[in-house]
């Protein structure tokens, strides 16, 4: 058996964490960065880039780069065509079917794109375990988090993504409840917690009751299309209103600039949106923005979170002041306006002792550990966010399992036939709170077959609906007079069939070599970049003139300039061997320079200090 991890598969960033010695920890790369941008880019030769490298490619090859794919998980083209307009990649699909994402000459479903991100996280964890000297470093199982308000199709799509990445998905858990687990670890107290989770693309509010180590969700609500992405979009649209249409890469440069300004405004009253000269934007773009202006722009978005908060409180039968603790999760909760409004609503200062970006992954790791270790100190009892029902005569939905029911939950419904010797019945399963089929979400159509031939109205077919601890539905049926089990043919409305997942798995093995090559290329590039950065830093030092005047020869400097230019040139290509070779050359050429700099630094550090300090 391999290792088990917890994964936060986010709209903007993803993370992986695990439990060691009873404590959860996130896995970082060599630079200490825990976040893997949920960005996937397709190279010219079919190589796949994931994370920071893919994010860089947004600025150069936007049309072959996919981000925010979580917004498309388990959804149909009709749901997403409006927002797809601003994205650099193409989004297509048949009405009522799965969304297809076009990148270059290839097409992917959202679970396939997410699987690339998951594979990257799996790899990162395996590298980490290998470095730790673990003999058994393979990661084969994971708990993956989803927004609490994800419906069945979105949860199933996430589970499919895990399978495609070669992970056994032990459990799908909701992000706010995962966060509460991470918070509950060192707090043995009891009470009512509200988790306000505003992530990159989704908003969740969950109300939980904690007692005797049981974390029981009382109610959950949210909006699966509301998050930091929308804040960015408001700012981007603001800039575009001034500069007009620009090419896709420039649009991404603007997006990057407004995100930076947004971050700056979390700590400062003033910031600047600053874009360097780009195609379609020859003079670049600069604009000062105050926090007050920013808050006016985003206020409508933040206000949209308040409706679900009130709904969840009312479903839990609580007044805001009855909530004992408020926990903030998700990068967008760093925005001062969000903190202020949440504090006002609940009348207390929200908690943010844990990093809001990392807390969900930590909780997922804890849940993974509970599952495999059998630890029983803690138990998470989650709820289903939406009511489950079936279509009845007249297009009306008959509810079978109500929203905010603790899961696992089950429901049953009796069916009979309307024609003599009828052997099959069609069943349409819906999710949502409204009365009419047209206003609810179609989950799946089932065909109930093998009913023993009998006069109309005589068969008594009991259909059992089971929502498991993942919040995912399964259906079983039995004719009660004969006790014959019925076969059920599932047609998920916005999901993949098992056969499709199998086929994608096979395809992904076929692409494994290309993906492996891509990884080596990325590693070569990252190494090259760090050598280039170190060299350029030395060249920019204020005392560099002294160095060239004395210690470093003209030939040496010329050699450095030449190899540096060579490596930069190689970086523009995709020849891994060339990049590797030129990196080595630059490393060699700068060896003397590095020694000189090192000695200078040591001298500087020692200068002006007396013996006592040393």
């Amino acid at each position: 058996m391999g290792k088990v991890v917890g994964i936060d598969l986010g709209t903007t960033n993803s993370l992986v964490a695990y439990v060691r010695d009873g404590a959860p920890r996130v896995i970082r790369d060599s630079t200490g960065d825990a976040l893997v941008p949920s960005v996937v880019s397709l190279g010219d030769e079919g190589t796949i880039f994931v994370g920071r490298e893919a994010q860089r490619r947004l600025l150069t090859t936007a049309a072959r780069t996919v981000y925010s794919v979580k917004r498309f998980m388990g959804r149909g083209i009709d749901d997403v065509k409006d927002e797809a307009a601003l994205l650099p990649f193409t989004v297509s699909g048949e009405a009522g079917g799965v969304v297809r994402i076009g990148v270059g000459d290839r097409e992917f479903t959202p679970p396939e794109i997410s699987a690339f991100v998951l594979r990257e996280l799996k790899q990162r964890a395996e590298d980490h375990f290998r470095e730790q000297g673990e003999f058994d470093f393979e990661v084969d199982r994971a708990v993956i988090t989803v927004p609490a308000y994800f419906n069945d199709a979105q949860r199933t799509a996430t589970r499919d993504a895990g399978r495609l990445a070669g992970l056994e998905v032990l459990r799908i858990i909701s992000e706010p409840t995962a966060a509460s687990l991470a918070y509950g670890l060192d707090k043995k107290n009891r009470g009512t917690i509200a988790v306000y989770d505003l992530g990159g693309g989704t908003f969740d509010i969950s109300i939980l009751k904690v007692e005797d180590g049981v974390f029981q969700a009382l109610a959950t609500s949210g909006d699966t299309h509301l998050g930091g992405d929308d804040i960015d979009r408001v700012l981007v649209e603001r800039v575009l209103a001034e500069v007009g249409n620009v090419p896709a890469e420039t649009l991404q440069a603007i997006r990057k600039a407004v995100i930076q300004a947004k971050w700056d405004l979390s700590d400062h009253e003033h910031a600047e949106i600053r874009v360097e000269s780009q195609a379609g934007l020859p003079n670049g773009y600069r604009r000062a923005i105050t926090r007050a202006e920013f808050e006016v722009l985003i206020r409508p978005l933040v206000d949209r979170t308040l409706g679900p908060v009130r709904q969840a409180l009312s479903d839990a039968g609580l007044e805001p002041h009855e909530v004992d603790e408020v926990v903030l999760v998700g990068g967008a909760t760093r925005t001062p306006l969000v903190r202020r409004l949440v504090a006002e609503l609940f009348g207390k200062t929200p908690h943010s002792d844990l990093n809001p970006d990392e807390v969900v992954a930590l909780g997922a790791a804890v849940q993974a550990d509970i599952l495999v270790s059998g630890r029983r100190e803690m138990l998470l009892l989650d709820v289903t966010p939406l009511s489950l029902g079936i279509e009845t005569i007249g297009g009306v939905v008959s509810k079978i399992i109500m929203r905010n029911s603790t899961i696992p939950a089950s429901g049953r419904e009796m069916y009979t036939t309307s024609v003599d010797n009828q052997t099959a019945v069609d069943i349409h399963v819906m999710q949502g709170e409204r009365e009419l089929v047209a206003d609810c979400r179609s989950l799946a159509r089932f065909k109930l077959r093998g009913i023993p031939p009998m006069p109309a109205g005589l068969p008594r077919v009991e259909v059992r609906f089971q929502i498991d601890a993942n919040g995912i539905l399964s259906v079983g049926a039995r004719e009660l007079r004969t006790s014959v089990e019925q076969s059920i043919e599932v047609k998920p409305s916005y999901g993949l069939t098992d056969q499709e997942v199998e086929r994608m798995l096979i395809e992904s093995f076929e692409h494994a070599q290309a993906d492996f090559d891509a990884r080596l290329l990325i590693e070569a590039r990252n190494e090259a970049e760090s050598v280039i950065n170190a060299t350029e830093k030395s060249l920019r030092r204020p005392d560099f003139a002294d160095v060239t005047a004395g210690e470093l020869t003209k030939d040496e400097l010329a050699q450095i300039d030449r190899t540096l230019a060579d490596l930069k040139h190689a970086m523009a290509g995709t020849e891994r061997e060339v990049i590797h070779e030129k990196t080595h050359a630059l490393n060699h050429a700068t060896r003397h320079l590095a020694e000189i700099m090192m000695n200078r630094s040591v001298r500087e550090a020692l200068a002006g200090r007396n013996v006592k300090d040393i």
């Binding site: 509970i370 029983r376 138990l379 009845t392």
Partner: protein, 252 residues
């Protein structure tokens, strides 16, 4: 197309699918091999919680039992178990959650008691026989409908909404009083049922159940009336903040 449910024969013992031993139907774990038992055809939420068949339940005691049983059944703890045990854990947890939901709220608790005592459900009657007014409510319903008709007419004629709203409130008052009266009746009948548990004759107990069912039916009817008044009210205050909860569907 919902046919009447066919009566399910009650089984008094379970067979452990892990070791084959027999177990009493209210056991959760096999007395022989101590593995979790498949649910079988359980039907009594009270017995499942180890509670007597009484309507007065201390909320914190019920919650404590719920947490304890959750810790015993939850699929989280059966990840490494056999498929048989995993299925049993899923079934038993689902059943526990359903049972807890039903027993937590007095109305659904009574509903469940009626069902296991063999009385027909009040739910199906409420839906299919919606037009049938309970005799005890005839007078109130007649008056309310007249008043609602008039309010609708006046609204269509363009009457002042605030005036109509206060008229609606006035029409609602007697219904609200009826509802409170029914709440008290249900409470009294519940206490009566609990006191009859040991001493009363089957006929006396049955009479209490019938009265409970009748009161519950009337109460359901009253709730429907109140919902109708709410809808009228929100139609009047279309410009103000309506009491209707907004749909919680994700966009799109």
């Amino acid at each position: 197309m919902t046919p009447d449910s066919i009566p399910v024969s009650h089984v008094s013992t379970l067979e452990c699918r892990s070791c084959g031993a027999g177990a009493p139907v209210d056991e959760h774990f096999c007395p022989q091999c101590s593995r979790i038992l498949a649910l079988g055809r359980h039907g009594d939420y009270f017995a499942f919680f180890g509670l007597p068949r009484k309507l007065t339940i201390a909320q914190d005691d019920l919650e404590r039992r719920f947490r304890e049983l959750s810790r015993k059944f939850h699929p989280d703890y059966y990840y490494n178990a056999t498929p048989t045990e995993r299925l049993a854990s899923l079934e038993r947890s689902s059943y526990l959650n359903d049972a807890y939901r039903a027993l937590r709220v007095p109305a659904t608790r009574i509903e469940h008691l009626l069902a296991i005592e063999g009385l027909p459900s009040t739910k199906s009657e409420g839906e299919s026989g919606a037009a049938k007014v309970p005799p005890a409510l005839l007078e109130e319903v007649f008056e309310l409908n007249e008043e609602l008709d008039e309010i609708r007419e006046q609204r269509e004629a363009g009457a002042e909404p605030t005036a109509l709203a206060s008229r609606l409130d006035a029409a609602r008052a007697p219904i609200d009083r009826k509802r409170e009266e029914h709440e008290r009746q249900i409470e009294a009948l519940s206490v009566q049922w609990d006191s009859q548990a040991e001493s009363a004759t089957p006929a006396e107990r049955r009479a209490t159940l019938d009265a409970l069912r009748e009161t519950l039916l009337e109460r359901n009817y009253i709730n429907n009336l109140l919902a109708t008044i709410e809808r009228e009210g929100s139609g009047l205050s279309a410009l103000g903040p309506g009491p209707q909860a907004k749909s919680q569907e994700p966009r799109g």
